[in-house]
């Protein structure tokens, strides 16, 4: 187990190093980092100070290590728009994003898993068909189109809910619904097939042949075994939630990290972009590691395969 933990930690560390290296390479390839980060019309003395701080007069490998140091001490430059420290700019947006992603995550689970289980237990019924149609639609309708359809129906036509802004909790309903639907559809499809596979196994037939009531068979045997593969895609879903937040926050003008990223990319406010990318990447790596470790705890058999199964 210790060995498993260590190997997961090592993989996470390698991923982090690669993320930082990626940002470093992209930054160097796009021009002089000082003008790129500070903006071309920054005062010369500020640019000189930046060059010194980042060691831009040093050889490249020194810069590389200096960049690591800067990343881990949180010195990622200042926003071009208001000159504030980018880490502060990003961090103040985090609660808004979490206010969407955490409820959306619970919607995913609360809708997706019961729908998948129900569909699997009533295979080929009307509800099963509906769940499958919703699941396939959930993949094919991109979140920005779903978001706009919801706005068209609930804001423009019916006038029930606001379409943009962050004035009250009612603003959050449509964004959460948009993000919840896509993930719930994916999860329902996955849970259904995991359940169907488990229900076809011989130990389920044995359990029901022993005379156990069907509800007990489902609860005690089928659900617990189907849960194991289902956990594996939760790490995958986190990535979907982050990507979803980028799009959905933009559609609903929700002042979260995703909208900050899109606006900064459009304005080429690169210090902010860099900080957001590093933060999202590190969060994702950490989350994936936690999921893998949890998975190893739930099912020690899978320690070697956890990674492979999720890919």
């Amino acid at each position: 187990m210790l060995q498993y933990l260590l190997s997961r930690l090592l993989r996470a560390a390698v991923s982090i190093v690669m993320v930082v290296t990626f940002v470093f390479v992209v930054l160097r390839m796009s021009g002089d980092p000082a003008t790129v980060i500070m903006g071309a019309d920054a005062p010369p003395e500020a640019i000189d100070a930046f060059r010194k701080a980042w060691g831009l007069d040093q050889p490249l490998w020194v810069q590389y290590f200096a960049f690591f140091e800067a990343v881990f001490s949180g010195e990622l430059g200042r926003s071009m728009r208001d000159g504030r420290d980018v880490v502060a700019v990003v961090l103040e947006r985090v609660p808004s994003t979490l206010a969407l992603t955490i409820p959306a995550f619970f919607v995913n689970i609360a809708v997706g898993i019961p729908a998948g289980v129900y569909a699997a237990l009533h295979r080929n019924s009307l509800i099963d068909r509906c769940v499958m149609v919703m699941a396939v639609t959930g993949f094919a309708v991109p979140s920005f189109i779903l978001a706009m359809l919801l706005v068209l129906i609930f804001s423009v036509t019916l006038g029930w809910l606001p379409s943009a802004g962050q004035d009250s909790w009612r603003n959050a309903i449509l964004p959460i619904a948009t993000m919840g639907f896509g993930g719930a559809a994916l999860l329902a499809r996955f849970t259904r097939s995991a359940m169907l596979e488990v229900l076809g196994q011989s130990y389920i037939r044995t359990a029901s042949a022993k005379g156990l009531p069907w509800s007990a068979v489902v609860w005690r045997h089928a659900l617990q075994n189907a849960a194991i593969p289902t956990i594996t895609i939760i790490g995958f879903m986190l990535g979907g939630l982050v990507a979803g937040a980028v799009v959905v926050e933009s559609v609903f003008s929700w002042p979260g990290v995703g909208r900050l990223l899109v606006v900064s990319v459009a304005n080429r406010d690169l210090a902010v972009v860099q900080a957001v990318v590093l933060m999202i990447a590190m969060t994702m790596v950490a989350a994936n590691m936690v999921v893998d470790v949890l998975y190893g705890l739930v099912d020690p058999r899978m320690q070697g395969q956890a990674r492979a199964a999720r890919r």
């Binding site: 993989r11 390698v14 991923s15 690669m18 993320v19 990626f22 940002v23 992209v26 930054l27 390839m29 796009s30 790129v36 396939v136 639609t137 993949f139 094919a140 309708v141 991109p142 979140s143 920005f144 189109i145 706009m148 359809l149 706005v151 068209l152 423009v156 990535g239 979907g240 982050v242 990507a243 980028v246 799009v247 933009s250 559609v251 990223l261 899109v262 900064s264 990319v265 459009a266 080429r268 690169l270 972009v273 860099q274 957001v276 990318v277 999202i280 990447a281 994702m284 790596v285 994936n288 890919r311």
Partner: protein
């Protein structure tokens, strides 16, 4: 063994002949798949003949007929799908956008497959440290949402069509890399590839003439599964205003600009949204069906 000839699903023959034999047996293909194929053929035909069939140039403005209604909402036949805020014909823009989006999706899918298969083969051929490096890259790109990476690259390098297509090409490369590596290694350790190696074949011949054709059906299925994702990714980035830039137009780009007129002229956005959704749906239905038929091992 002897009766293998009589089975059309035998592993032999080219992918095409096997598909043709599927079509020949006809009645086994579900109606939904027939509809999906017809829709995709229609889209391809539109993309190929875009210049011939579009009623106006997609940039041509008709300022007297701005935001005119489409026919099904009571508009005139002059502009079947209505016009946008500058009086540009929505149908003509839709046709041009279909061509642009399909072109990008095809280009990016092929780039992704080439990059992925090449790296997968390189990993399988050299093993050792090279393989570990490729696997670390695979890990890396599996760990971070591709949309975020793409946004970062676009922010730093600005935007051009070529860069945009290449960037989208990196989507899903790691899937091809894993498939190509796994199948190449299993082919090399036992069987035909080891035999061809013993014949003195160069790596080019081994991978190009023997291993690649043997894994082609798996790769084509994966490409079909990745294609709709690229359509969605392209339209998502263009929707955010970070993909295709005006005066060029793509499906996502149209939805993005139509968003501002959502309350007054929803038809600008609904037509491309419909095309995006139905096309993604059809390709993924077809991909699922192909996977079940040709390569059930792929999950």
């Amino acid at each position: 063994m002897v009766d293998a000839t009589s089975s059309p699903a035998g592993t032999g023959g080219s992918l095409i002949t096997r598909l043709l034999s599927r079509f020949a047996t006809g009645n086994r293909m579900p109606l939904l798949i027939v509809i999906a194929i017809l829709w995709l053929v229609l889209m391809l035909a539109i993309a190929v003949s875009a210049d011939l069939i579009s009623p106006y140039r997609f940039t041509q403005m008709d300022l007297r007929n701005r935001l005119s209604l489409p026919v099904f909402m009571g508009g005139s036949w002059r502009h079947v799908l209505g016009t946008d805020e500058l009086g540009r014909d929505v149908l003509s823009r839709l046709i041009t956008s279909i061509r642009m989006s399909l072109l990008i999706a095809f280009g990016a899918t092929i780039i992704g497959a080439v990059i992925g298969v090449t790296l997968g083969f390189v990993a399988a051929h050299f093993r050792g440290i090279v393989e570990q490096a490729v696997l670390a890259l695979v890990d890396f790109s599996a760990a971070i949402p591709f949309l975020v990476l793409a946004l970062a690259v676009l922010a730093f390098f600005g935007n051009s069509l070529v860069l945009f297509v290449c960037l989208l090409g990196f989507h899903a490369w790691e899937r091809y890399a894993r498939i190509a590596r796994g199948l190449a290694i299993s082919g090399k350790t036992h069987g035909y590839a080891a035999a061809v190696h013993q014949l003195g074949a160069s790596p080019w011949r081994l991978y190009g003439r023997h291993i690649l054709p043997n894994i082609a059906s798996t790769l084509i299925v994966s490409m079909t599964l990745a294609f709709p994702e690229i359509i969605l990714l392209e339209s998502g980035l263009s929707f955010l205003g970070l993909g295709i830039q005006p005066p060029d137009t793509s499906l996502g780009n149209m939805v993005g600009f139509g968003r501002e007129y959502l309350s007054s002229a929803p038809w600008i956005m609904l037509a491309p949204a419909f095309v995006i959704t139905v096309t993604a749906l059809c390709v993924s239905l077809l991909g699922d069906w192909l996977r079940d038929r040709l390569d059930p091992t792929l999950s």
